[in-house]
Symmetry: C2
Subunit: 275 residues, 2 copies
Protein backbone atom coordinates (compact mmCIF):
# COMPACT_ATOMS: atom_id res chain seq x y z
CA UNK A 1 0.00 0.00 0.00
CA UNK A 2 1.07 3.41 0.48
CA UNK A 3 4.36 4.19 1.75
CA UNK A 4 5.63 7.43 0.74
CA UNK A 5 5.52 10.35 2.86
CA UNK A 6 5.56 13.61 1.50
CA UNK A 7 5.42 16.60 3.30
CA UNK A 8 2.92 19.01 3.84
CA UNK A 9 -0.60 18.86 4.00
CA UNK A 10 -2.65 16.69 2.21
CA UNK A 11 -5.95 17.83 2.65
CA UNK A 12 -5.18 20.58 4.83
CA UNK A 13 -5.26 22.87 2.04
CA UNK A 14 -8.60 21.64 1.12
CA UNK A 15 -10.11 22.62 4.31
CA UNK A 16 -7.50 24.32 5.95
CA UNK A 17 -8.17 27.07 7.97
CA UNK A 18 -6.28 28.16 10.82
CA UNK A 19 -8.08 27.01 13.66
CA UNK A 20 -11.44 27.43 14.82
CA UNK A 21 -11.54 27.32 18.49
CA UNK A 22 -14.81 27.03 20.11
CA UNK A 23 -17.06 25.68 17.55
CA UNK A 24 -20.60 25.91 18.66
CA UNK A 25 -22.94 23.06 18.44
CA UNK A 26 -25.03 25.05 16.12
CA UNK A 27 -22.14 25.77 13.96
CA UNK A 28 -22.26 24.55 10.42
CA UNK A 29 -20.49 21.36 9.59
CA UNK A 30 -16.88 22.02 9.04
CA UNK A 31 -16.36 19.57 6.30
CA UNK A 32 -19.20 20.41 4.09
CA UNK A 33 -19.42 22.23 0.91
CA UNK A 34 -16.20 23.96 1.11
CA UNK A 35 -14.10 23.62 -1.88
CA UNK A 36 -10.48 23.13 -1.64
CA UNK A 37 -8.47 25.45 0.35
CA UNK A 38 -11.26 27.09 2.12
CA UNK A 39 -11.23 27.88 5.71
CA UNK A 40 -12.33 25.33 8.16
CA UNK A 41 -9.47 23.64 9.88
CA UNK A 42 -10.41 20.31 11.25
CA UNK A 43 -7.28 19.23 12.83
CA UNK A 44 -5.95 22.11 14.44
CA UNK A 45 -6.99 21.56 17.96
CA UNK A 46 -5.00 20.23 20.68
CA UNK A 47 -7.16 17.18 20.40
CA UNK A 48 -6.45 15.70 17.00
CA UNK A 49 -8.76 13.09 15.58
CA UNK A 50 -8.82 10.97 12.49
CA UNK A 51 -9.71 12.75 9.29
CA UNK A 52 -11.52 10.86 6.57
CA UNK A 53 -11.08 11.97 2.99
CA UNK A 54 -11.79 10.68 -0.49
CA UNK A 55 -9.41 10.78 -3.45
CA UNK A 56 -10.51 10.11 -6.99
CA UNK A 57 -8.50 8.55 -9.80
CA UNK A 58 -10.35 9.89 -12.84
CA UNK A 59 -9.08 8.26 -16.02
CA UNK A 60 -9.65 8.94 -19.67
CA UNK A 61 -7.95 8.21 -22.98
CA UNK A 62 -6.29 11.18 -24.63
CA UNK A 63 -4.33 10.85 -27.83
CA UNK A 64 -4.28 7.12 -27.44
CA UNK A 65 -2.74 7.32 -24.00
CA UNK A 66 -4.28 6.63 -20.63
CA UNK A 67 -4.52 9.91 -18.75
CA UNK A 68 -5.43 10.94 -15.22
CA UNK A 69 -6.82 14.21 -13.93
CA UNK A 70 -4.58 15.86 -11.35
CA UNK A 71 -4.68 19.15 -9.54
CA UNK A 72 -1.73 21.26 -8.61
CA UNK A 73 -1.34 22.09 -4.98
CA UNK A 74 -0.89 25.74 -4.41
CA UNK A 75 -0.35 26.04 -0.73
CA UNK A 76 1.63 24.42 1.94
CA UNK A 77 5.04 22.90 1.81
CA UNK A 78 3.91 20.55 -0.88
CA UNK A 79 3.04 23.39 -3.14
CA UNK A 80 3.81 22.58 -6.72
CA UNK A 81 3.18 18.87 -6.40
CA UNK A 82 0.30 17.25 -8.25
CA UNK A 83 -2.47 15.50 -6.39
CA UNK A 84 -5.55 13.48 -7.12
CA UNK A 85 -8.73 15.49 -6.69
CA UNK A 86 -9.95 14.84 -3.19
CA UNK A 87 -11.72 16.36 -0.26
CA UNK A 88 -12.60 15.80 3.33
CA UNK A 89 -15.80 13.83 3.79
CA UNK A 90 -18.54 15.82 5.41
CA UNK A 91 -20.05 14.53 8.61
CA UNK A 92 -23.38 13.88 6.95
CA UNK A 93 -22.09 13.15 3.52
CA UNK A 94 -21.70 9.77 1.86
CA UNK A 95 -18.35 8.79 0.42
CA UNK A 96 -19.74 8.76 -3.09
CA UNK A 97 -21.16 12.24 -2.71
CA UNK A 98 -17.85 13.50 -1.46
CA UNK A 99 -16.11 11.92 -4.44
CA UNK A 100 -18.51 13.55 -6.86
CA UNK A 101 -18.05 16.85 -5.13
CA UNK A 102 -14.28 16.56 -5.24
CA UNK A 103 -14.28 15.95 -8.97
CA UNK A 104 -16.99 18.38 -9.95
CA UNK A 105 -15.25 21.14 -8.10
CA UNK A 106 -12.30 20.57 -10.39
CA UNK A 107 -13.83 19.65 -13.67
CA UNK A 108 -17.27 21.13 -13.66
CA UNK A 109 -18.82 17.84 -14.68
CA UNK A 110 -20.53 15.31 -12.50
CA UNK A 111 -21.51 13.08 -15.39
CA UNK A 112 -18.65 10.62 -15.54
CA UNK A 113 -18.95 9.88 -11.89
CA UNK A 114 -21.69 7.41 -12.56
CA UNK A 115 -18.95 4.86 -12.93
CA UNK A 116 -17.60 5.64 -9.52
CA UNK A 117 -15.95 2.64 -7.95
CA UNK A 118 -14.46 2.54 -4.48
CA UNK A 119 -11.35 0.41 -4.68
CA UNK A 120 -9.18 0.79 -1.60
CA UNK A 121 -8.60 2.78 1.55
CA UNK A 122 -5.20 4.24 2.27
CA UNK A 123 -4.32 4.88 5.85
CA UNK A 124 -0.61 4.71 6.49
CA UNK A 125 0.08 6.43 9.74
CA UNK A 126 2.48 8.93 8.27
CA UNK A 127 0.89 9.58 4.95
CA UNK A 128 0.02 13.06 6.08
CA UNK A 129 2.47 14.69 8.46
CA UNK A 130 -0.11 16.83 10.09
CA UNK A 131 -2.55 14.36 11.44
CA UNK A 132 -3.93 10.94 10.81
CA UNK A 133 -5.71 10.94 7.49
CA UNK A 134 -7.63 7.94 6.19
CA UNK A 135 -8.39 8.24 2.50
CA UNK A 136 -11.01 6.19 0.70
CA UNK A 137 -9.96 5.98 -2.94
CA UNK A 138 -12.26 5.83 -5.95
CA UNK A 139 -11.73 5.32 -9.62
CA UNK A 140 -13.96 6.76 -12.31
CA UNK A 141 -13.60 7.02 -16.04
CA UNK A 142 -14.49 9.78 -18.46
CA UNK A 143 -14.89 9.69 -22.19
CA UNK A 144 -12.45 11.49 -24.37
CA UNK A 145 -14.63 14.53 -24.73
CA UNK A 146 -15.37 15.34 -21.15
CA UNK A 147 -14.00 17.24 -19.53
CA UNK A 148 -11.92 18.78 -22.27
CA UNK A 149 -8.28 18.94 -21.45
CA UNK A 150 -7.16 22.46 -20.90
CA UNK A 151 -10.70 23.54 -20.20
CA UNK A 152 -11.88 26.15 -17.78
CA UNK A 153 -10.59 24.24 -14.83
CA UNK A 154 -8.23 26.39 -12.96
CA UNK A 155 -5.70 24.13 -11.37
CA UNK A 156 -6.44 20.77 -12.95
CA UNK A 157 -5.05 19.10 -16.03
CA UNK A 158 -4.74 15.69 -17.60
CA UNK A 159 -1.47 13.85 -17.36
CA UNK A 160 -0.48 10.79 -19.32
CA UNK A 161 -0.18 8.03 -16.73
CA UNK A 162 2.97 6.86 -18.40
CA UNK A 163 4.67 10.17 -17.66
CA UNK A 164 3.88 9.96 -13.99
CA UNK A 165 5.68 6.70 -13.56
CA UNK A 166 8.91 8.13 -14.79
CA UNK A 167 11.43 9.38 -12.33
CA UNK A 168 11.64 12.65 -14.12
CA UNK A 169 7.90 13.04 -14.16
CA UNK A 170 6.08 15.61 -12.06
CA UNK A 171 6.17 15.20 -8.31
CA UNK A 172 3.05 13.73 -6.82
CA UNK A 173 1.74 14.61 -3.41
CA UNK A 174 1.72 12.23 -0.48
CA UNK A 175 1.09 8.62 -1.40
CA UNK A 176 -0.92 9.57 -4.46
CA UNK A 177 1.45 7.76 -6.76
CA UNK A 178 0.55 4.54 -4.98
CA UNK A 179 -3.14 5.34 -5.04
CA UNK A 180 -2.89 6.04 -8.75
CA UNK A 181 -1.05 2.81 -9.47
CA UNK A 182 -3.58 0.78 -7.51
CA UNK A 183 -6.48 2.54 -9.19
CA UNK A 184 -5.06 2.00 -12.66
CA UNK A 185 -4.60 -1.66 -11.93
CA UNK A 186 -8.19 -1.82 -10.77
CA UNK A 187 -9.40 -0.38 -14.06
CA UNK A 188 -7.13 -2.69 -16.02
CA UNK A 189 -8.80 -5.57 -14.27
CA UNK A 190 -12.35 -4.26 -14.37
CA UNK A 191 -12.48 -3.79 -18.12
CA UNK A 192 -11.82 -7.50 -18.37
CA UNK A 193 -15.02 -8.41 -16.58
CA UNK A 194 -17.32 -5.44 -17.00
CA UNK A 195 -18.36 -3.05 -19.73
CA UNK A 196 -16.49 -0.23 -18.04
CA UNK A 197 -14.44 0.39 -21.17
CA UNK A 198 -17.53 1.60 -23.01
CA UNK A 199 -17.52 4.59 -20.66
CA UNK A 200 -14.13 5.60 -22.04
CA UNK A 201 -15.57 6.32 -25.49
CA UNK A 202 -18.32 8.62 -26.67
CA UNK A 203 -21.51 7.23 -28.12
CA UNK A 204 -21.91 6.15 -30.75
CA UNK A 205 -18.56 4.48 -31.13
CA UNK A 206 -16.83 2.11 -33.50
CA UNK A 207 -15.27 -1.13 -32.43
CA UNK A 208 -11.94 0.34 -33.45
CA UNK A 209 -12.41 3.13 -30.94
CA UNK A 210 -13.37 0.69 -28.24
CA UNK A 211 -10.39 -1.44 -29.09
CA UNK A 212 -8.05 1.50 -28.86
CA UNK A 213 -9.49 2.28 -25.42
CA UNK A 214 -8.57 -1.23 -24.30
CA UNK A 215 -5.16 -0.87 -25.83
CA UNK A 216 -4.55 2.42 -24.02
CA UNK A 217 -5.56 1.01 -20.66
CA UNK A 218 -3.61 -2.20 -21.04
CA UNK A 219 -0.67 -0.72 -22.90
CA UNK A 220 -0.84 -3.38 -25.56
CA UNK A 221 -2.06 -3.90 -29.08
CA UNK A 222 -4.92 -6.26 -29.83
CA UNK A 223 -5.80 -8.09 -32.99
CA UNK A 224 -8.75 -6.23 -34.53
CA UNK A 225 -10.37 -9.38 -35.86
CA UNK A 226 -10.29 -11.34 -32.63
CA UNK A 227 -11.32 -8.30 -30.61
CA UNK A 228 -14.34 -7.83 -32.79
CA UNK A 229 -15.33 -11.45 -32.51
CA UNK A 230 -15.12 -11.44 -28.73
CA UNK A 231 -17.03 -8.21 -28.29
CA UNK A 232 -19.86 -9.23 -30.57
CA UNK A 233 -20.04 -12.69 -29.04
CA UNK A 234 -20.73 -11.16 -25.63
CA UNK A 235 -24.41 -10.37 -25.49
CA UNK A 236 -25.28 -7.10 -23.84
CA UNK A 237 -21.85 -5.58 -24.31
CA UNK A 238 -22.55 -3.33 -27.29
CA UNK A 239 -25.64 -2.73 -29.43
CA UNK A 240 -25.39 -1.97 -33.16
CA UNK A 241 -27.00 1.26 -34.28
CA UNK A 242 -27.16 0.34 -37.93
CA UNK A 243 -25.28 3.46 -38.91
CA UNK A 244 -21.71 3.78 -40.01
CA UNK A 245 -19.13 6.48 -39.75
CA UNK A 246 -16.12 7.47 -41.73
CA UNK A 247 -13.07 7.94 -39.62
CA UNK A 248 -10.73 9.10 -42.33
CA UNK A 249 -9.36 6.73 -44.84
CA UNK A 250 -10.63 3.20 -45.07
CA UNK A 251 -13.93 1.46 -45.01
CA UNK A 252 -16.63 3.11 -42.88
CA UNK A 253 -17.01 1.46 -39.51
CA UNK A 254 -20.24 0.24 -37.99
CA UNK A 255 -21.42 2.28 -35.02
CA UNK A 256 -22.48 0.86 -31.68
CA UNK A 257 -23.95 1.98 -28.41
CA UNK A 258 -23.35 0.68 -24.91
CA UNK A 259 -25.28 -2.45 -24.15
CA UNK A 260 -27.34 -3.28 -21.10
CA UNK A 261 -25.19 -5.80 -19.32
CA UNK A 262 -22.45 -4.70 -16.99
CA UNK A 263 -20.91 -8.13 -16.69
CA UNK A 264 -18.92 -9.79 -19.43
CA UNK A 265 -19.33 -13.51 -20.03
CA UNK A 266 -16.82 -14.69 -20.91
CA UNK A 267 -14.37 -12.01 -19.79
CA UNK A 268 -12.29 -9.99 -22.21
CA UNK A 269 -8.99 -11.33 -20.96
CA UNK A 270 -5.96 -9.18 -21.47
CA UNK A 271 -3.06 -10.83 -23.23
CA UNK A 272 -0.44 -12.42 -21.01
CA UNK A 273 2.09 -9.96 -22.37
CA UNK A 274 0.40 -7.08 -20.59
CA UNK A 275 0.51 -8.44 -17.10
Amino acid sequence: MAKERKRSDKRVAERAKPKRPGKGAATPRPAHGSSADGPGGFVTDDRPGVVVTVDVVLLAVHDGELAVLLVERRRGPDSGAWALPGTVVGLDETLGAAAVRAVSARTGVAAPLGRLDQFATFADVDRDPRTRVVSVAFVAVASEAVPPAGGPVASGRWWAVKELHKKKGPAMAFDHRDILATGVERVRSRIEHTDLATALVDEPFTLGELRRAYEAVWGTTLGPANFRRKVLATRGFVEPTGATRMVGTGRPADLYRRGADAVLHPPMLRPASSR
Copy 2:
Protein backbone atom coordinates in the same frame (compact mmCIF):
# COMPACT_ATOMS: atom_id res chain seq x y z
CA MET B 1 0.21 6.57 20.57
CA ALA B 2 -2.80 7.60 22.32
CA LYS B 3 -4.70 4.52 21.96
CA GLU B 4 -8.22 5.26 21.94
CA ARG B 5 -10.44 4.71 24.74
CA LYS B 6 -13.77 4.10 23.91
CA ARG B 7 -16.57 3.93 25.86
CA SER B 8 -19.77 3.84 24.44
CA ASP B 9 -19.08 3.31 21.01
CA LYS B 10 -19.79 0.68 18.66
CA ARG B 11 -16.76 -1.37 19.02
CA VAL B 12 -16.10 -0.38 22.46
CA ALA B 13 -17.34 -3.53 23.88
CA GLU B 14 -15.31 -5.65 21.61
CA ARG B 15 -12.09 -3.96 21.90
CA ALA B 16 -12.46 -3.58 25.52
CA LYS B 17 -12.20 -7.19 25.97
CA PRO B 18 -8.72 -7.52 27.28
CA LYS B 19 -9.44 -5.13 29.98
CA ARG B 20 -12.89 -6.14 30.56
CA PRO B 21 -13.00 -5.82 34.25
CA GLY B 22 -13.54 -2.42 35.42
CA LYS B 23 -14.63 -1.07 32.16
CA GLY B 24 -17.36 1.30 32.68
CA ALA B 25 -20.21 0.15 30.67
CA ALA B 26 -21.63 3.35 31.48
CA THR B 27 -22.32 5.67 28.73
CA PRO B 28 -25.31 4.79 26.70
CA ARG B 29 -25.43 6.09 23.25
CA PRO B 30 -24.26 9.59 22.91
CA ALA B 31 -25.31 11.12 19.75
CA HIS B 32 -23.05 13.41 17.93
CA GLY B 33 -20.75 15.08 20.21
CA SER B 34 -23.04 15.08 23.06
CA SER B 35 -21.80 12.94 25.77
CA ALA B 36 -18.29 13.61 26.50
CA ASP B 37 -16.41 10.55 26.89
CA GLY B 38 -13.71 10.44 29.20
CA PRO B 39 -10.35 11.65 28.35
CA GLY B 40 -9.17 10.80 24.95
CA GLY B 41 -12.60 10.20 23.61
CA PHE B 42 -12.84 10.52 19.91
CA VAL B 43 -16.26 11.91 19.96
CA THR B 44 -15.07 15.13 21.16
CA ASP B 45 -17.46 17.06 23.12
CA ASP B 46 -19.09 19.68 21.12
CA ARG B 47 -16.91 19.03 18.16
CA PRO B 48 -18.02 15.75 16.65
CA GLY B 49 -15.57 13.85 14.53
CA VAL B 50 -15.54 10.79 12.37
CA VAL B 51 -14.65 7.49 13.96
CA VAL B 52 -12.65 5.02 11.91
CA THR B 53 -12.98 1.33 12.70
CA VAL B 54 -12.09 -2.00 11.15
CA ASP B 55 -14.38 -5.02 10.90
CA VAL B 56 -13.14 -8.46 9.98
CA VAL B 57 -15.01 -11.17 8.12
CA LEU B 58 -13.13 -14.26 9.28
CA LEU B 59 -14.26 -17.32 7.35
CA ALA B 60 -13.62 -21.01 7.78
CA VAL B 61 -15.22 -24.25 6.69
CA HIS B 62 -16.95 -26.19 9.44
CA ASP B 63 -18.84 -29.42 8.78
CA GLY B 64 -18.71 -28.70 5.09
CA GLU B 65 -20.35 -25.34 5.50
CA LEU B 66 -18.87 -21.88 5.14
CA ALA B 67 -18.82 -20.28 8.58
CA VAL B 68 -18.03 -16.84 9.94
CA LEU B 69 -16.81 -15.80 13.35
CA LEU B 70 -19.19 -13.42 15.11
CA VAL B 71 -19.29 -11.89 18.55
CA GLU B 72 -22.36 -11.11 20.54
CA ARG B 73 -22.84 -7.52 21.47
CA ARG B 74 -23.48 -6.99 25.12
CA ARG B 75 -23.86 -3.28 25.36
CA GLY B 76 -24.59 -0.29 23.32
CA PRO B 77 -26.86 -0.24 20.33
CA ASP B 78 -27.93 -3.58 18.96
CA SER B 79 -27.12 -5.28 22.21
CA GLY B 80 -27.88 -8.96 21.80
CA ALA B 81 -27.19 -8.84 18.09
CA TRP B 82 -24.21 -10.55 16.52
CA ALA B 83 -21.41 -8.50 15.05
CA LEU B 84 -18.22 -9.01 13.12
CA PRO B 85 -15.13 -8.67 15.28
CA GLY B 86 -13.95 -5.11 14.98
CA THR B 87 -12.35 -2.26 16.80
CA VAL B 88 -11.62 1.39 16.62
CA VAL B 89 -8.38 2.13 14.80
CA GLY B 90 -5.77 3.67 17.04
CA LEU B 91 -4.36 7.02 16.08
CA ASP B 92 -0.94 5.54 15.40
CA GLU B 93 -2.08 2.13 14.33
CA THR B 94 -2.26 0.75 10.83
CA LEU B 95 -5.51 -0.72 9.59
CA GLY B 96 -3.99 -4.16 9.32
CA ALA B 97 -2.70 -4.04 12.87
CA ALA B 98 -6.11 -3.03 14.11
CA ALA B 99 -7.70 -5.91 12.21
CA VAL B 100 -5.25 -8.38 13.71
CA ARG B 101 -5.91 -6.98 17.12
CA ALA B 102 -9.66 -7.19 16.68
CA VAL B 103 -9.50 -10.84 15.74
CA SER B 104 -6.82 -11.98 18.15
CA ALA B 105 -8.74 -10.49 21.01
CA ARG B 106 -11.57 -12.85 20.12
CA THR B 107 -9.87 -15.95 18.93
CA GLY B 108 -6.48 -15.95 20.56
CA VAL B 109 -4.80 -16.60 17.24
CA ALA B 110 -3.07 -14.15 15.01
CA ALA B 111 -1.99 -16.79 12.54
CA PRO B 112 -4.78 -16.72 9.99
CA LEU B 113 -4.49 -13.02 9.65
CA GLY B 114 -1.68 -13.40 7.23
CA ARG B 115 -4.33 -13.68 4.59
CA LEU B 116 -5.82 -10.39 5.59
CA ASP B 117 -7.39 -8.62 2.68
CA GLN B 118 -8.97 -5.21 2.80
CA PHE B 119 -11.99 -5.30 0.55
CA ALA B 120 -14.27 -2.33 1.10
CA THR B 121 -15.05 0.61 3.32
CA PHE B 122 -18.53 1.08 4.70
CA ALA B 123 -19.58 4.57 5.60
CA ASP B 124 -23.30 5.05 5.36
CA VAL B 125 -24.19 8.11 7.33
CA ASP B 126 -26.61 6.33 9.61
CA ARG B 127 -24.90 3.01 9.99
CA ASP B 128 -24.23 3.72 13.63
CA PRO B 129 -26.82 5.70 15.56
CA ARG B 130 -24.31 7.35 17.85
CA THR B 131 -21.95 9.10 15.54
CA ARG B 132 -20.45 8.90 12.09
CA VAL B 133 -18.48 5.68 11.86
CA VAL B 134 -16.41 4.74 8.84
CA SER B 135 -15.50 1.07 8.83
CA VAL B 136 -12.74 -0.45 6.75
CA ALA B 137 -13.66 -4.08 6.19
CA PHE B 138 -11.25 -7.00 5.88
CA VAL B 139 -11.66 -10.65 5.05
CA ALA B 140 -9.42 -13.39 6.37
CA VAL B 141 -9.70 -17.14 6.33
CA ALA B 142 -8.87 -19.74 8.91
CA SER B 143 -8.37 -23.44 8.54
CA GLU B 144 -10.84 -25.81 10.05
CA ALA B 145 -8.78 -26.35 13.16
CA VAL B 146 -8.18 -22.85 14.30
CA PRO B 147 -9.68 -21.46 16.26
CA PRO B 148 -11.78 -24.36 17.43
CA ALA B 149 -15.45 -23.68 17.40
CA GLY B 150 -16.81 -23.46 20.87
CA GLY B 151 -13.35 -22.78 22.19
CA PRO B 152 -12.32 -20.59 25.03
CA VAL B 153 -13.56 -17.52 23.34
CA ALA B 154 -16.05 -15.94 25.57
CA SER B 155 -18.49 -14.10 23.40
CA GLY B 156 -17.54 -15.36 19.97
CA ARG B 157 -18.76 -18.32 17.98
CA TRP B 158 -18.88 -19.60 14.45
CA TRP B 159 -22.07 -19.29 12.48
CA ALA B 160 -22.87 -21.01 9.24
CA VAL B 161 -23.12 -18.23 6.69
CA LYS B 162 -26.18 -19.86 5.25
CA GLU B 163 -28.02 -19.44 8.54
CA LEU B 164 -27.34 -15.75 8.66
CA HIS B 165 -29.01 -15.09 5.37
CA LYS B 166 -32.29 -16.51 6.56
CA LYS B 167 -34.91 -14.23 7.88
CA LYS B 168 -35.23 -16.24 11.01
CA GLY B 169 -31.51 -16.29 11.54
CA PRO B 170 -29.84 -14.36 14.32
CA ALA B 171 -30.00 -10.59 14.20
CA MET B 172 -26.86 -8.91 12.98
CA ALA B 173 -25.66 -5.58 14.24
CA PHE B 174 -25.55 -2.41 12.18
CA ASP B 175 -24.85 -3.08 8.51
CA HIS B 176 -22.78 -6.13 9.26
CA ARG B 177 -25.00 -8.32 7.15
CA ASP B 178 -24.02 -6.24 4.13
CA ILE B 179 -20.37 -6.31 5.09
CA LEU B 180 -20.54 -10.07 5.47
CA ALA B 181 -22.23 -10.55 2.11
CA THR B 182 -19.68 -8.38 0.37
CA GLY B 183 -16.81 -10.12 2.11
CA VAL B 184 -18.10 -13.56 1.23
CA GLU B 185 -18.43 -12.55 -2.38
CA ARG B 186 -14.86 -11.28 -2.29
CA VAL B 187 -13.63 -14.64 -1.06
CA ARG B 188 -15.73 -16.46 -3.63
CA SER B 189 -13.99 -14.44 -6.29
CA ARG B 190 -10.50 -14.56 -4.82
CA ILE B 191 -10.30 -18.33 -4.65
CA GLU B 192 -10.79 -18.28 -8.40
CA HIS B 193 -7.60 -16.36 -9.02
CA THR B 194 -5.41 -16.97 -5.99
CA ASP B 195 -4.40 -19.87 -3.78
CA LEU B 196 -6.44 -18.45 -0.91
CA ALA B 197 -8.44 -21.67 -0.65
CA THR B 198 -5.37 -23.54 0.55
CA ALA B 199 -5.55 -21.44 3.72
CA LEU B 200 -8.96 -22.96 4.46
CA VAL B 201 -7.48 -26.44 4.96
CA ASP B 202 -4.80 -27.73 7.30
CA GLU B 203 -1.52 -29.01 5.95
CA PRO B 204 -1.02 -31.53 4.69
CA PHE B 205 -4.29 -31.84 2.84
CA THR B 206 -5.84 -34.05 0.21
CA LEU B 207 -7.27 -32.76 -3.03
CA GLY B 208 -10.64 -33.95 -1.78
CA GLU B 209 -10.37 -31.65 1.21
CA LEU B 210 -9.34 -28.76 -0.98
CA ARG B 211 -12.20 -29.49 -3.30
CA ARG B 212 -14.70 -29.54 -0.45
CA ALA B 213 -13.36 -26.16 0.67
CA TYR B 214 -14.14 -24.78 -2.79
CA GLU B 215 -17.54 -26.39 -2.69
CA ALA B 216 -18.34 -24.89 0.71
CA VAL B 217 -17.34 -21.41 -0.39
CA TRP B 218 -19.16 -21.57 -3.71
CA GLY B 219 -22.09 -23.60 -2.51
CA THR B 220 -21.75 -26.03 -5.37
CA THR B 221 -20.43 -29.47 -6.11
CA LEU B 222 -17.45 -29.94 -8.39
CA GLY B 223 -16.42 -32.91 -10.45
CA PRO B 224 -13.52 -34.54 -8.60
CA ALA B 225 -11.73 -35.56 -11.77
CA ASN B 226 -11.79 -32.18 -13.45
CA PHE B 227 -10.95 -30.41 -10.21
CA ARG B 228 -7.91 -32.58 -9.79
CA ARG B 229 -6.77 -31.98 -13.32
CA LYS B 230 -7.07 -28.21 -13.00
CA VAL B 231 -5.31 -28.01 -9.66
CA LEU B 232 -2.38 -30.14 -10.73
CA ALA B 233 -2.08 -28.33 -14.05
CA THR B 234 -1.55 -25.05 -12.22
CA ARG B 235 2.09 -24.88 -11.25
CA GLY B 236 2.79 -23.51 -7.82
CA PHE B 237 -0.70 -24.16 -6.50
CA VAL B 238 -0.03 -27.31 -4.45
CA GLU B 239 3.06 -29.44 -3.89
CA PRO B 240 2.87 -33.21 -3.44
CA THR B 241 4.35 -34.57 -0.23
CA GLY B 242 4.61 -38.15 -1.44
CA ALA B 243 2.63 -39.41 1.52
CA THR B 244 -0.93 -40.59 1.59
CA ARG B 245 -3.66 -40.57 4.18
CA MET B 246 -6.67 -42.69 4.87
CA VAL B 247 -9.77 -40.68 5.36
CA GLY B 248 -12.16 -43.49 6.14
CA THR B 249 -13.33 -45.85 3.53
CA GLY B 250 -11.88 -45.75 0.07
CA ARG B 251 -8.49 -45.53 -1.47
CA PRO B 252 -5.92 -43.51 0.48
CA ALA B 253 -5.51 -40.00 -0.89
CA ASP B 254 -2.26 -38.33 -1.83
CA LEU B 255 -1.25 -35.49 0.47
CA TYR B 256 -0.21 -32.02 -0.63
CA ARG B 257 1.14 -28.82 0.80
CA ARG B 258 0.53 -25.26 -0.24
CA GLY B 259 2.57 -24.19 -3.21
CA ALA B 260 4.60 -21.04 -3.69
CA ASP B 261 2.52 -19.11 -6.18
CA ALA B 262 -0.29 -16.92 -5.02
CA VAL B 263 -1.70 -16.37 -8.49
CA LEU B 264 -3.57 -19.00 -10.46
CA HIS B 265 -2.97 -19.26 -14.19
CA PRO B 266 -5.41 -20.13 -15.53
CA PRO B 267 -8.01 -19.27 -12.90
CA MET B 268 -10.11 -21.90 -11.17
CA LEU B 269 -13.37 -20.61 -12.56
CA ARG B 270 -16.48 -21.35 -10.58
CA PRO B 271 -19.26 -23.05 -12.47
CA ALA B 272 -21.86 -20.78 -13.98
CA SER B 273 -24.46 -22.40 -11.75
CA SER B 274 -22.93 -20.81 -8.66
CA ARG B 275 -23.12 -17.21 -9.75
